[in-house]
């Protein structure tokens, strides 16, 4: 239930902040607008402060350097720039009834599946993800 509620909050806030609109993202990437830089900066500062204030109750995430980080981020950056959408906003756009985002979601799922197949066939390192 808490997952559903925090998901709703996250989706609603991102949507109302314009983070699901191509235009807003594109204006960030081309340095025309400060808006999303402000959003990200304040979110990061809030988490830094919160994790200090509540440090006894906070579960620090695990992040490791692995060979996939840089090439993976380059590929994600290309898709992010082209579509102005990241994985969270893609589903939020569907909620906003921009049903064309179903194409983005289909692409993400298939891209994810292709990487999974390639990873287990060719790469020796362990997979990591941000829910750890």
């Amino acid at each position: 239930m808490i997952y559903l509620i925090t998901g709703i909050a996250f989706g609603l806030i991102l949507s109302l902040a314009g983070a699901t609109q191509f235009k807003v993202l594109h204006d960030m990437f081309t340095f025309r607008s400060f808006h999303l830089y402000g959003v990200i900066m304040v979110a990061v500062i809030t988490i830094i402060s919160g994790s200090i204030i509540f440090r006894k109750k906070i579960t620090k995430p695990f992040r490791a350097f692995h060979p996939g980080i840089i090439p993976g981020s380059v590929l994600f950056g290309i898709g992010w720039g082209l579509s102005g959408t990241c994985p969270g906003p893609a589903i939020i756009q569907i909620g906003e009834m921009h049903l064309i985002a179903a194409a983005t979601i289909a692409g993400i799922l298939i891209g994810n599946l292709i990487y999974k197949k390639i990873h287990y066939k060719y790469f020796k390192w362990e997979e990591h993800s941000c829910d750890e």
Binding site: Y3, F10, F54, G68, P87, D131
Partner: protein
């Protein structure tokens, strides 16, 4: 639109709340990995929460749709037509191709804007900060490139 300092603060509070109450960290891209793993029968049950959070995001978007007065615009996303034109098939192909890059890239990098940029950077994790800089700079380069190529 929400003011940037309010939106940023609320995003931070949501991430902290999920961590404080459940010890979990927001990671949108992991949900796609979960769905793919589910259908290829190698999923882990303890990751089911990602899916509930994902469904929540859908309803969050739907509430925003209601707040904004039920403006039903299925064939585009704000600002997309200014770059790519109004042909919905072409836009769907571009979004699908972008999706392939996003899905492949985020699974390879192990995270996206939520996991690496907001949460990872918020907990001052160096691998996440590096990932954020790389995908951000690539997106900047891509955006200038498409503008140079396509904008009328």
């Amino acid at each position: 639109m929400l003011k940037w300092y309010i939106a940023g603060f609320l995003i931070g509070v949501t991430a902290l709340l999920l961590n404080y109450l459940k010890g979990k960290n927001i990671s949108a891209s992991s949900t796609y990995s979960f769905i793919v793993d589910f259908f290829t029968k190698s999923y882990r049950k303890e990751k089911l929460w990602l899916f509930y959070f994902f469904i929540g995001m859908f309803f969050g978007g739907f509430i925003s749709f209601m707040i904004n007065g039920f403006k039903f615009i299925p064939h585009t996303i704000a600002g997309l037509d200014e770059i790519y034109g109004s042909n919905p098939v072409l836009k769907a192909i571009i979004l699908f191709t972008s999706g392939l890059f996003i899905g492949f890239g985020t699974r390879m990098a192990g995270g996206c804007t939520s996991g690496h940029c907001i949460v990872g950077a918020g907990f001052l994790k160096l691998p996440s900060v590096v990932a954020t800089l790389v995908f951000f700079l690539t997106a900047v380069a891509t955006s200038f490139f498409i503008e140079f190529l396509l904008k009328q």
